[in-house]
Every structure is written in structure tokens, then in C-alpha cells.
């Protein structure tokens, strides 16, 4: 499978997951988007050397994942796949920050290693939360949430159209690149020149399609306004979800529970 086909499959998978039916799926998209944003900001606001305090934050993605019945392995794999950039930048930390911050026996661990671990933890948490958000919320739902958040209609409609036609154009693009690779008898991608005319052809088809869509829209009385049926309402459970998690994040941010627990355990023994 090519890069393109793999990604296409990926979108289709997530799209299918988002059509599931569990209580996280049924929550209003607005509270899911907001809660995820608060989660990410809280995680990112943690001190750069924090490790133990970051760990309890996993309760948010883990419980959502569990409650929605989505496959955890799939999300772990996705997180691993995109980790190289954060890892690459983070790897400089151990080289540059060699102040010893922790001694385990005779082994000194520098601040750089600690902050690297912290970066990777943040990465897993933030990326995980974002992926789970799209796994339990349809893209359409997210767009409608954005509309309710007063994001300009032009952009919301753009997102909806983009998402709709990704499915058509990815299909066209994969057919085209399959046809090319079948005739070029190599495993590598096309050269720049070939790519230029492939992309050019794809672009021509895309503009042709845009013209036909525009005709189809005119045909049904389009006058420049897209009317969306956006009539969701917030229920008590939605508010509770948002407030409950916000309180949890606030507590996790303020108190270092793992250390408290750890101290308790060590004092007890």
C-alpha cells in the first residue's frame, strides 16, 4: 500500500469510528472540543521538568477510550507514527542541558533527560487527546461546533466542503498514482516532472469538478448562502462532562497527586 492509500484508509477508519454509538460519541461536539482544548492547554502548561504530575492526566484519554470502545492499539500506533519530530527536537535536550537533577544510586540523571521524557509524555497526551476527539466526534459535528463558537461561516463551509471532497480526490489521486506505478515498473515515487503533470492533471480534474459542483448548486437555487441544519442543544450531561473534567484538570494541575501518594506509601512503610 502506498503512503496515500494508507492515509486514505486511516481517514476512513477514523471517520467510521466517529460514527460509533457510545456515551462519549453522543455528547455534544462543543463540549468535547472545549474539554479537549482545556486538557491540552493544561498539559502544555506544566513545568518542563514535570513527569510524575503529567502521568495522572492520562485518565482523560484512557477513560474516553475505554468508555467509547475504540481500539487502544490503533491510537497507540498512530501516536508512535507521528512521534519522530517531537523526539528529534527533544533529543537535543539531554545534550544541551546536563545539569544533574536526580541521583539514582550513583547514576546522575540530567535535566535534559528529564525534560525529554516530559516532552514525550506531553506529546503522547496531547496527540492522544486530539486523535480520540476525532475518534468520538464526527468531523461534521466538529464543524458545527465551530459554527456555534462563532467561527466565520466561510471557514466552516470550507472545512465541510474540503472534508467531503477529500474522499473523492484521494480516490482519484490513488487511482492515478497506481496507474503510474504500474507502468513505471519501479517502487519509487515519480520524479518531479512526472509529479508535476500528475498533480497538474489532478488539479485540472479538480477545477472541472468544482465547476460542475457549482452548477449543481446553482441548479438547486444556491444564492451564495449555505444553510446548515444546526440545531443541537446542550443537555445536563454535556455541561457535567465539561465542568467535571475541568475540575479534574484543575486539581491535577494544582496538586501533584502521584507525589502525594508516593509520600504516603513511603511514610506508611
Amino acid at each position: 500500500m502506498t503512503f496515500l492509500e494508507r492515509n486514505f484508509l486511516d481517514i476512513r477508519n477514523l471517520d467510521l469510528m466517529a460514527r460509533g454509538d457510545s456515551w462519549p460519541h453522543r455528547l455534544d461536539p462543543r463540549v468535547k472540543v472545549l474539554t479537549t482544548m482545556i486538557f491540552i492547554i493544561t498539559v502544555v502548561s506544566m513545568d518542563k521538568y514535570s513527569i510524575s504530575q503529567l502521568i495522572p492526566f492520562a485518565v482523560f484519554p484512557v477513560s474516553l477510550l475505554a468508555a467509547s470502545g475504540l481500539p487502544p492499539g490503533y491510537f497507540l500506533k498512530k501516536i508512535l507514527l507521528v512521534s519522530p519530530f517531537a523526539l528529534m527536537v527533544g533529543l537535543f535536550n539531554p545534550l544541551l542541558d546536563q545539569t544533574i537533577l536526580l541521583h539514582i544510586g550513583s547514576l546522575g540523571i540530567s535535566g535534559g533527560w528529564i525534560s525529554l521524557v516530559s516532552i514525550m509524555l506531553r506529546f503522547t497526551l496531547t496527540v492522544g487527546a486530539a486523535l480520540i476527539l476525532i475518534g468520538i466526534t464526527s468531523f461534521n459535528g466538529i464543524c458545527l461546533a465551530l459554527e456555534k463558537f462563532r467561527v466565520p461561516k466561510v471557514f466552516v463551509v470550507q472545512l465541510l466542503f474540503l472534508y467531503r471532497y477529500i474522499f473523492v480526490l484521494l480516490d482519484e489521486a490513488s487511482r492515478m498514482s497506481r496507474a503510474r506505478s504500474l507502468r513505471s515498473l519501479d517502487i519509487k515515487g515519480p520524479g518531479i516532472k512526472t509529479f508535476g503533470s500528475m498533480a497538474g492533471n489532478l488539479l485540472l480534474r479538480a477545477t472541472g469538478r468544482a465547476e460542475r459542483i457549482h452548477l449543481a448548486m446553482l441548479c438547486r437555487g444556491f444564492d451564495g448562502n449555505i444553510h446548515t441544519m444546526n440545531s443541537s442543544s446542550l443537555y445536563l450531561k454535556d455541561i457535567l462532562f465539561l465542568l467535571g473534567w475541568t475540575v479534574v484538570f484543575y486539581l491535577l494541575r494544582t496538586y501533584n497527586f502521584p507525589e502525594l501518594i508516593g509520600n504516603g506509601v513511603l511514610n506508611f512503610t
Partner: protein, 257 residues
Amino acid sequence: MSHHIVKADTLCYSYPATDCGIHNISFSITHGESVALVGENGAGKSTLLHHLNGFLQPDSGSVSIGDYPITQKNLKAVRRSVGMVFQDPDDQLFMPTVLDDVCFGPLNLGLAPDSAKNAALHALERVGAAHLVDRPPYRLSGGEKRSVAIATVLAMSPDVLIMDEPSSNLDPRARQRLIKLLMSFKHTKIIATHDLDMAVDLCERTIVLHKGKITADGATLDIFQNDTLMNESGLIKPLRMQGCSICGQDPERAESP
């Protein structure tokens, strides 16, 4: 109201800087008629269809829908009464869900969201696609897409249905279902198609286009049996009117002795 619902009068159009287009097209179609528009690729079928909806303005001549000639002013009324089903349903289904898409037209007509929804649900039921309401268009099969595309047009309760290649890219069963569905419509229909077998099923009248001109306009079966005409217009008889090359039963040879 006039007896003729679609009337083209010496319609001429050529695309800028080319000599392709349509020349001197005249016909009139009455209420409830079902007309097939056939011709080889590039014969001018799509160009003609685009005039019936006011996408293209004729260089000379005119098109009338009902009592009114199509002008810039009454374009909205024309598009309301003429429903067009596109060849590629992906072009027609651009909204995020089936319901949104079928509601698109009614909402543009100024219907309140509730009545738009009702119109949409009714149209979807009509084409047997009520169960697809909440699906996004990219999760539909080819046949389902086509049904929904027809529903998007039906929801606007048009008087005339214009279809561009409705049976293309359908598997045999989906095609059969489509033909049955279209048979059940009482609308005036204009169907541009290469599927001459479907034309035999659906349309009592056929207009043949060749190089932008009408070469024949008459009863479907008469036209399809006219070998010279078919040859000259670049067409091939519907399969069921050809002999069977496998079992050797050739209706023509059987008739000739």
C-alpha cells in the same frame, strides 16, 4: 398554461473559439412526456441540457419552460421547475450528510427548516433511501448515491426532470431498480443517455443528436430500427434489438426470409 412544457426554438450555441456546439435545435415536449436524448460523445447532449436550465445562454434562438422563455430574470423560477440530475452524483452531493444535501434545495427555496426537512424525508422515501438520512455521501454505494441525487431534485418538486446519464456506473441490479423508479415518476422527463436499452424501457420518444444537430425526432422504437439513421448518427442498436451472437437467433434474419 401552455400545452408544451419544454420548447426549444432554433437554438444555436457555439463554444468560444471552436466550432463545436449546437445548431438550429428546435423541439417541443409536452406534459408527462418522457424523451430520450441520444447521440455519440461530443454530439452536443450536455450543451443542450445546459440550455434547458439556463447555465448557458443561447447565441440565438430561445428556450421556454412552461409559458416563459428562459431569461436572467426568471432563472430562479426556471431552476425551481426544472430539476437536473448530474451524471456524477459526487458533483451533486456536496453537503456533509444526505439529509443536509436533500434539504439544500428546499432551504434555498425559502422553506422553513422543518418543512424543508419534511420535503427531504418525503423525497428520500420516494426513492427508497429513507434509511440513508444520516449518512455522509461518501459512505454510499453508487446506486444509493444515484437515488439520493434524484431525491435532492425531487425535494424541490420540479415539473421537469432532466437527467444526464442516469444509468452510468451502476451495477445491473442497481440499474434495474433505477429504471423501475424512473418509470414510477409522472414528471416530464428528458434523459440524455448512451444506454439505449434503458431508453427503450423509459422513453416513448427519442431525439437523436449528431454533430450538434437533430438528425431524428420520433418514436423510440422506429428510430432504433432505422439502421441507416443509427449508423449515420454513430449509434448502435440496443442489445435486445440485436441478434444473439451466441445462440444464433438473429431477429432480423429471422424476419427477412
